[in-house]
Symmetry: C2
Subunit: 203 residues, 2 copies
Amino acid sequence: MAGSSSSASGTTRARLLEAALALTGEGGYAAASVAAIAAQAGVSNGALYRHWSSKGELFAELFRTVCSRELEEMTAAGASPRHTTAAERVEAVLTTFSSRALRNPRLAWALIAEPVDPLVEAERLAYRRTYREGLAALLRTGVDAGDLPPQDPDLTAAALVGGVGEALVGPTSPLADAPPDAAVIVAALSAFVRRAIGAGDPG
Amino acid sequence: MAGSSSSASGTTRARLLEAALALTGEGGYAAASVAAIAAQAGVSNGALYRHWSSKGELFAELFRTVCSRELEEMTAAGASPRHTTAAERVEAVLTTFSSRALRNPRLAWALIAEPVDPLVEAERLAYRRTYREGLAALLRTGVDAGDLPPQDPDLTAAALVGGVGEALVGPTSPLADAPPDAAVIVAALSAFVRRAIGAGDPG
DNA sequence: CGACGATGTGAATCGTGATTCACCGTCCAT
DNA sequence: ATGGACGGTGAATCACGATTCACATCGTCG
C-alpha cells in the first residue's frame, strides 16, 4: 500500500527497532514491552517474532547497534591527532562518553545500568569490557612512556568506566530529562579522570 | 520439639532472614525465590507472609541490616584516630569497603549491582547515597583544609563509589568465589583512590 | 476445659508479559 | 491463474514466581 520507500516509515523491522529505541529512551527497558513496541511501531505483537526469535534478540541487536556507534565516537575521539599524550587521549574518550550520555540520560541509564535480559546483559558486558580494554591499552602506553605513574591499567580502566558511569547515571537518574549543566559536569569529570590516572594539570 | 534456644535454629523469622542471606550469597537475588528461601529455612511458603507483607519487604529489611553493618565498619575505619588527614580517612573507608566486599563477591554483587525489586532498589539507593555523602563530607574537609585540590566533592564521591564498585564486582563477577589476591586488588584500588582525590604519595 | 491469637501448611490462584498459532492478504514466479 | 513464500494479525496460551486462604497446631489465659 504505502510507497516502498517514502514517507514516515521504513520496513517493519526498522520501525520495530526504532520503536524499541524510542521507548527505551523514554521509560527505560522496563517500559519497552513487546506490546508497547508493537503498538508504537503500528504492528501487532506477533510481527516482532517474524524478525527476531525473542524480545531479547531484538534488544541484543539494538544494544549492539547503539553501543557500536558510541564506541566508534569514543575511539575516534581518542585517536584524534589533536591529542598527543595518552592522558589526553583517555580524557578525550571519557569526555566523549560523558557528554553523549548526558544528552540522553534515560537511554544512557538503560545502556549502562538498568536491569535487562540475560541476553542483553551479555551484550552490555561485552561492550563494557571493550571500553575497559581500550582504556587500559591507552593507559599502558602512557605508563610505558613514563607519562603516567606506574599502575594496574586494567584496574584503573575498570574503575574509570564504573566511576564515570555512576557519576552520570547515579546523580542523573533522579533528574528528569534536563541535565542541570552538562558542560560543568563534563569538566568536573575530566578533572577527576586526569587526577585518577595520575596525569598532571590540564595541558 | 527442638530445644528453645540451642542447636541450629532460632525463630522462624530469623531463619528466613538467614536463608535469604545465604541464598543471595550463593546465587544472588535471582536465586532467592520465596520457595527456595522457605525450603532452606525449613518452613512452607506461606510462613514468610506471617512475618513480612511481601518478599520485597523481607529483602528490604535484609539489605538494611547488612548495609548498616557495612556502613558502621566503614565509618569506624574512617573515624579511627590512626588517620589524621582527610585523604587517609577516605582511603581507609574505601579500603574497608573493598576488602569486605572481596570476602564475599557474590553477596557484594547482589548488594551493589544486581537487579532487584523496586522496594529493595530504594534501600540500596539510600545506602549508596549515604556512602556518597559520607565520602563527600570527608572530601570537603580535605579541600577546605587545603590538603586536597579544589574539586566537586559530590561528583568525586559518586565517581569513587561507582569506580570502586565496578572494579570489585566487574572483574570479580566472572570469577568463582576465590578472589585471585584480595590484598593486591585492595592495594591497587587504594592507589587509584589516592590519585583520584588528588592526594600525594602514600603517607 | 474451651476460646483465642499467633503461627505454620501447601495447594490453588493470580498477575504479568512473552510467546505461539491458525488464519489471512499480497506479491511474484511459473 | 495459481501456488506458495513472505509478512502480518491478535486472541489464546504458557511460564513463572509471588501471593492467598481454608485448614491445622500449639501455647496461653480466663
